[in-house]
């Protein structure tokens, strides 16, 4: 409540400044923030501080006057301090990459006056980030980049968390999962791979991120559909699983496209199939001979296993509706930027944009689906 009020004062001051000499100072205030990223000496900050203290009382007065004059829309909520994008994974992972892309997109296109800070909270397989989002339900300056862990962690590890305790903003993308093998292996299709795995004396090693999560679930379903046995090795990040595959320490992994992109381009790994009902849409060449679209679906290959992972944004549970509106708008504008579109194609993410009730509906269905998968795989903690 308090934070919101003071934020109102600040934004009102910006409007009030329109016909006052204080305008220059307000400009400088915004300018100082923007110039900070250019390595300019920070003397301007001192000024800013003095300014905000000295200008307090006139500003409050102006705010009161303005409140009666201006419509509600002009007083819309705006961040009053740096906004934290919370990543529920380690550095370099798909979520982290997405957060950095958003940070760059917001700052390069000046979508927001305050800077964006990416904070990595990947401890306890991402549970740290969930708990952090819950810890201060009224903090309007943090947003979580969520993925399937919001459904799976509470089931597998009995983490006291439910996505309904947060405020949904929007679903911005769906991430694919692909079955990869080392390029030195002879398998060109899922079938050949599964046959080899079935007849192998020691089970094939399958790498993935975390235990009892999407990668593990997919492995369990691959086992069911093909009759092969895999030894699932849970790594701390998809990047690690990719390196381990290139080093031939595991026979296969089920990474997101972004996690294996570079080693695929280098010809070190080979995609066998994508776990979706249709092929990835992007047709521009990624390697010398292949595009994302050239990867067959697992269903085409006779192994009907499907999974799509959501990438969505959430705010803490008790933020005001105008705060939510601000972030819905902000992230909508992010999805319109060139950086975002470029990123989606490069990382082979499936475009989707949902907000409001559509998003709620999607989350409910997706949660039910995830619960079924987890239950069937036997990963729900008793």
């Amino acid at each position: 409540m308090q934070a919101e009020q003071s934020a109102r004062v600040i934004s009102a001051r910006r409007h009030a400044a329109a016909d006052q000499p204080a305008e220059q100072a307000a400009e400088r205030r915004a300018g100082a923030r923007r110039s900070a990223p250019q390595g300019v000496p920070r003397a301007a900050f001192g000024l800013e501080l003095c300014h905000s203290v000295l200008n307090r009382w006139p500003a409050r007065l102006a705010a009161m006057l303005m409140a009666t004059v201006l419509s509600g829309a002009a007083l819309a909520w705006e961040p009053s301090k740096p906004v934290e994008i919370v990543v529920a994974a380690g550095a370099g992972g798909a979520s982290d990459q997405m957060a950095r892309m958003m940070q760059a997109a917001i700052q390069k296109n000046s979508l927001m006056k305050q800077p964006v800070v990416v904070s990595l909270k990947g401890a306890a397989s991402g549970a740290e980030a969930l708990m952090y989002m819950k810890s201060d339900p009224a903090d309007a300056h943090r947003a979580l980049i969520a993925y399937s862990l919001i459904y799976m962690l509470p089931l597998s590890a009995k983490i006291p968390f439910n996505w309904r305790e947060l405020t949904p903003v929007s679903v911005v993308a769906l991430d694919q999962l692909v079955l990869w093998v080392n390029a030195k292996q002879p398998y060109e299709s899922v079938k050949a791979f599964a046959d080899a795995a079935r007849s192998s004396a020691t089970p094939f090693k399958m790498g993935g991120t975390g235990s009892r999560r999407e990668d593990h679930v997919l492995t369990a379903f691959l086992e069911k559909k093909t009759g092969a046995r895999f030894a699932y090795l849970p790594y701390k990040s998809g990047g690690e699983a990719a390196t381990q595959l290139v080093g031939d320490h595991i026979q296969a992994n089920v990474n997101n496209p972004s996690e294996n992109l570079e080693v695929w381009r280098a010809g070190q790994v080979r995609p066998l199939c994508v776990f979706d009902k249709e092929r990835i849409a992007y047709k521009s060449a990624v390697t010398a001979t292949q595009s994302w679209n050239d990867i067959p679906t697992c269903r085409e290959q006779g192994v009907d296993v499907q999974y799509l992972m959501l990438r969505a944004l959430f705010l803490p549970g008790k933020v005001g509706p105008d705060t939510t509106a601000f972030y819905v708008d902000l992230f909508h504008r992010v999805t319109q930027t060139a950086e975002y579109k470029d990123y989606m194609e490069k990382q082979a993410l499936k475009p989707i944009y949902l907000t409001g009730n559509d998003m709620l509906k999607f989350l409910q269905d997706d949660e039910a689906l995830n619960r079924d998968l987890m239950t069937e795989a036997g990963f729900v903690a008793k």
């Binding site: 390595g39 708990m131 590890a157 090693k205 699932y232």
Partner: protein
């Protein structure tokens, strides 16, 4: 030679006044964040990262790598002056660096730390320059058994070194291993030892523990013994620098050994943290005068710092070539690269040659400029010790609290830090060594994960640790080091009674 030509090209791009100025700014900022306990390496670099978004790629790289260098150099400063390590790899520097500062030799210790950092990273940069492609493929040979073997080697190089009673070392190490296991178990995805607490879910953060164990407990001890921070008599002049440098050749073996260990562990993805500990332990093991370690021996600063920086630098190689960061700070740099669409991976060296060589050239320059810069700040930092204890003590407490809080934005961590402060104080007084606890806290969890992944892969067969030449020799070496005291006694007896 192609490498040399490209490197010269890199230099030619970088040697302008503008880039040199950026370099200085980056270094100063880097040292600054390295010294501030709340920021440290990874946090500090993460915060400064947006500074570079609006620059052109070359300037941005120079700036970033200089921030990285600065943070590396800065980490040693608080370890030596206040016994508060800012990064995992600065912990071993406190063992001898802090006693030196207490004896009024802070300037000497700082000079030693900076110089050996310089040497360590220089060796590593040379290695990157000439062997980059080949080394990247070496790093690929590390699977779970190999990782476990390396961690085992680190632990084994440590056991049997302390002067303390064996059962106390055991207590310390077991406690550290247990604490590192608190939270979520990666391999099974289960929670353990959290007792339903949301705060324990995150696990015991290493830095929080270390700030308490070393920083807070040191304040308590100093107060008890009614000592001011002893640094008054420290004479600071260029002569100190000269004196330390003259001693350097005598420790060539230590420097070389630490550089090799550092480079080796640095290119092993994720192995960088073990380097400083192993460098220190081996220096101690091979020294004729083991007793003087931990009491302010300059070699005890040279060894871990050289290893830490060799590994910190060579950690950039797996990051560039494989996209796997070797340290927390390198991970943030990785994020920075991706912002410019430079995706680290095997093709980076092929597709963005000029970028890679520009970065390598900036490593050379940043390192040299950085050394000059930090050496010139030695008097300034050593002078901090002349501030009255009554003023500096509360400031250290505040800095520790900021540091503990900033890591995970959790008030709980401040209480945890105070708790560890008390534990550190009591343990020091009843001679339970803290070093095994910290080592176990950093590596325990990783070692366990690596072991269990190996077991899943081999279906529970322990022979996996001898399944190829690399893992077999590391494991054997570890076991030899573990039983070294016993073996050497057997050898001596054999020599005494010629059969």
């Amino acid at each position: 030679m192609e490498a040399l030509g490209l490197l010269l090209y890199g230099f030619s791009v970088l040697l302008t006044w503008k880039t040199l100025a950026l370099m200085l700014v980056g270094l100063v900022l880097g040292i600054f964040v390295g010294v501030l306990p709340g920021l440290g390496g990874p946090n500090g670099v993460a915060i400064l990262l947006p500074l570079t978004f609006t620059m052109d790629p070359t300037s941005a790289i120079v700036m970033l790598s200089c921030i990285y260098w600065g943070a590396l150099f800065g980490g040693a400063i608080t370890s030596i002056l206040f016994n508060i390590p800012g990064e995992a790899w600065s912990v071993a520097t406190t063992f001898d660096g802090y006693p030196m500062a207490q004896q009024g030799r802070a300037a000497e210790a700082l000079t030693a730390a900076f110089t050996s950092s310089f040497i360590g990273s220089l060796v590593a940069v040379l290695l990157i320059t000439f062997l980059a492609p080949g080394i990247a493929s070496f790093a690929l040979q590390f699977g779970p058994p190999e990782f476990f073997a390396v961690y085992l080697l680190t632990f084994c190089s440590f056991v049997g070194l302390g002067r303390e009673a064996k059962h106390k070392t055991l207590i310390s190490m077991a406690l550290g291993l247990l604490l590192s296991g608190v939270g979520m178990d990666t391999v099974s995805g289960q929670l353990r030892m959290t007792f339903g607490s949301a705060d324990l879910l995150r696990g015991v953060n290493f830095l929080v523990a270390v700030i308490g164990l070393f920083g807070i407990s040191e304040i308590l001890l100093t107060m008890e013994e009614r000592l001011a921070l002893r640094g008054h008599s420290a004479r600071i002049s260029l002569r100190v620098v000269w004196k330390v440098w003259r001693e350097l050749p005598r420790y060539w073996a230590t420097l070389l050994r630490s550089s090799i260990i550092g480079c080796w562990l640095g290119i092993t993805p994720g192995g960088a943290i073990a380097a400083s500990f192993m460098g220190y332990n081996l220096a101690k093991r091979f020294s004729k005068d083991k007793e003087s370690f931990g009491k302010g021996r300059i070699e005890g600063v040279f060894a871990p710092e050289t290893a830490a920086h060799a590994s910190g630098t060579s950690a950039l190689l797996p990051m560039l070539a494989l996209g796997i960061p070797g340290s927390g700070t390198a991970a943030i740099l990785l994020g920075g690269l991706m912002v410019w669409g430079l995706n680290p991976g095997p093709l980076l060296f092929v597709e963005h040659k000029e970028f890679v060589w520009g970065l390598i050239a900036s490593m050379y320059l940043g390192n040299v400029v950085g050394l000059v810069l930090v050496l010139s700040t030695v008097p300034l930092f050593a002078a901090v010790l002349r501030v009255p204890f009554a003023a500096i003590a509360p400031m250290i407490v505040v800095s520790c609290a900021i540091g503990a809080y900033a890591i995970q934005n959790a008030v709980f961590d401040i209480w945890l830090m105070v708790g560890f402060g008390v534990v550190g104080y009591v343990f020091k007084k009843i001679d339970i060594p803290l070093a095994p606890l910290t080592l176990a806290l950093v590596l325990g969890n990783r070692a366990e994960d690596a072991f269990r992944l190996s077991m899943i892969g081999s279906a529970g067969d322990l022979r996996v640790f001898w399944s190829n030449g690399l893992v077999g020799s590391v494991t054997t070496l570890a076991l030899v080091l573990l039983f070294w005291p016993l073996l050497s006694r057997v050898f001596e007896r054999m020599r005494a009674t010629p059969a």
